[in-house]
């Protein structure tokens, strides 16, 4: 990749106490990577009065307390922190963890496996192989802490379902585009359901309900139904730290 840098971000005020930060660039991949780099840098240097940030695909919403700080201050801090923002800055606040997640891929756990295979021009077993050979990186935690990851290697990006499914089981492995996500709780989804892990992804009885974070590395390991049952899988834990 290039050492291209940004000198400017767009800061759009949103209501009386938030701004949305985006990186203007014609390439969506660069827009997305740059905004993640900006988020990490912004959180590491969090300006006073900032309450929380919400990650979008190509944006960062910064929410602040308008009595503790003010719009011009927040905007100034954002621009200052965005200066000379490198495209591929690795600003790891934590050590990346590595997960090997056992997954059952069959007709029952992966009802969209066949249609995905047809769409990308592979056999279902080859789709499973492609997923197993992909190395995923967790790019953000989606709704209800669902790990959303990047890195699916298939002949072409996978479309979403035209009609969303209404009740997908927890542990479902779902794909769309070149992304994968794991369903933490029963609920609806427009993603394509291709398998299921026996592990508990999010456990709300724990003080820390998940063991993963952004930047962590995930591999999916195909297992049979019997192997999954024999695993006695509980709360999902990492296998190791990723050596730098």
């Amino acid at each position: 990749m290039t050492a291209e840098q940004f000198t400017a971000v767009t800061v759009e005020p949103f209501g009386d106490s938030a701004v949305m930060v985006t990186v203007p660039h014609p390439d969506p991949v660069i827009r997305r990577t740059a905004v993640v780099a900006f988020r990490e840098r912004f959180l590491a240097q969090r300006p006073p009065g900032v309450l929380d940030v919400v990650s979008g695909l190509e944006s960062l919403l910064v929410e602040f307390d308008p009595l503790e700080t003010a719009l011009p201050h927040v905007e100034y801090a954002v621009r200052l922190l965005a200066e000379r923002l490198p495209l591929h800055e690795r600003l790891q606040a934590r050590t990346a963890l590595r997960f090997d997640i056992p997954v059952v891929f069959d007709e029952e756990t992966g009802p969209d496996l066949l249609s995905v295979a047809e769409e990308v021009g592979l056999a279902p077993a080859e789709v499973v192989e492609a997923i197993a050979e992909s190395t995923f990186t967790i790019s953000l935690l989606g709704a209800a802490m669902a790990p959303m990851m990047d890195g699916l290697s298939v002949p072409r990006p996978v479309r979403r379902r035209a009609e969303p499914r209404t009740d997908v089981a927890p542990g479902a492995i779902m794909i769309a585009g070149t992304n994968a996500i794991i369903q933490p709780f029963p609920g609806p989804t427009g993603w394509r359901v291709v398998g299921r892990t026996p592990h508990t992804i999010v456990d709300i009885s724990r003080a820390e309900p998940v063991s993963f974070g952004t930047g962590d590395i995930v591999r999916f390991v195909p297992v049979t139904r019997d192997e999954a049952a024999a695993l006695d899988a509980g709360f999902l834990l990492p296998v190791s730290e990723v050596s730098a």
Binding site: G15, M20, V54, L141, M145, F185
Partner: protein
């Protein structure tokens, strides 16, 4: 401190533990959540000498009631309601002593406001998720009340007869829930510029809260306009109170449990000072929107915050004079 049991003799339609919400969890996929009407929730806690963000009870509809097994200090805020202690009327928006073995009931007037907040002086024993007692239904964290709730309380009573004149005359900034349409202040955002005429349309039209509303958002019946272009909006985070126009002909005001937009235009964001009223708006309520600039919006919020601080100080002084320190916080 001692442990007091509250026997929950009735619950309302939806009665849960609640607080002001989670901090710093949005970027991990968990909405802040918390009391829909943050003003009333903070007020209820202040009125019993608790920190603003202490765990309390939020109720929607019906007539919740409980009986404490020791004297407790309670305050009920939120929408207009009828409070009784042992059958005798008591004030809302005021500290009220509920003697041991006596029932306090809160009957909501759903036509005027959807939610009531019941704070009890002390620490309610409630589960937490990521540091907050606020429910998160999406994560299966429902926070409904058991038949008996435990409280750690330092309250020992004021030695004041129930029939004597009221103990307190506090400068209480009561949330006004008037009859007729409620006026919500809104600050314009980018979507208004991409839809010509929408600003004027929203300013002059009435909108009605429908029954499809929930903690994710209020869905409003009323006229809307859609953008001409098919430009795709990449899904992004949105502030609480964002006015979103989906593909259908309705207006959605997003609440504290919103997630990213599905790529719909956001025409404005309700002023922070208007959010408590939105948290009280139930089905059938007519809303009118008034565009305000950002400075006006922040000023109104600052005025409300000042009123809360004045009350915090007054309550601390009144309780102090009565020999009850509560958990009072210094500001």
């Amino acid at each position: 401190m001692r442990t007091v049991g509250l026997d929950i003799t009735r619950t309302g339609w939806v009665t849960t533990f609640q607080d002001l919400g989670r901090r710093d969890t949005e970027r991990r996929g968990v909405p802040t959540g918390g009391a829909a009407d943050q003003h009333s929730a903070a007020m209820a806690n202040i009125l019993v000498g608790n920190p603003r963000d202490a765990t309390l009870i939020e109720n929607l509809g019906g007539e919740p009631a409980f009986v404490p097994d020791a004297d407790v200090l309670v305050a009920v805020t939120g929408g207009p309601c009828r409070v009784t202690v042992g059958g005798a009327p008591a004030d809302s928006w005021s500290p009220v002593v509920v003697p041991a073995g006596t029932e306090i009931r809160v009957r909501a007037d759903m036509d005027l406001g959807a939610r009531n907040y019941i704070a009890v002086s002390g620490v309610l024993a409630a589960k937490t998720l990521l540091g907050s007692a606020a429910p998160d239904p999406r994560m299966g964290f429902t926070q409904t009340l058991e038949t008996r709730v435990l409280l750690e309380s330092g309250f020992r009573g004021f030695g004041h007869s129930h029939f004597a004149p009221p103990l307190f005359r506090l400068p209480v900034p009561v949330l006004r829930c008037p009859q007729g349409p409620w006026v919500i202040d809104v600050v314009e955002s980018y979507g208004a510029r991409s839809i010509p005429g929408v600003r004027e349309l929203i300013a002059r039209s009435p909108y009605t809260v429908t029954t499809r509303s929930n903690h994710v958002g209020l869905r409003l019946d009323g006229p809307v306009l859609h953008p001409d272009t098919e430009t795709e909006i990449v899904s992004h985070g949105v502030p609480i109170g964002a006015l979103q126009i989906p593909h259908a002909d309705e207006l959605i005001v997003l609440g504290r449990y919103r997630s990213l937009t599905a790529g719909y235009p956001i025409v404005g964001v309700a002023s922070r000072a208007s959010l408590p009223l939105l948290g009280q708006a139930g089905p059938g309520r007519e809303l009118r929107f008034r565009w305000v600039d950002r400075e006006t919006s922040v000023r109104r919020y600052a005025e409300r915050e000042r009123a809360l601080r004045v009350l915090e100080r007054a309550t601390a002084e009144a309780f102090g004079a009565l020999g009850f320190a509560g958990h009072l916080i210094s500001h």
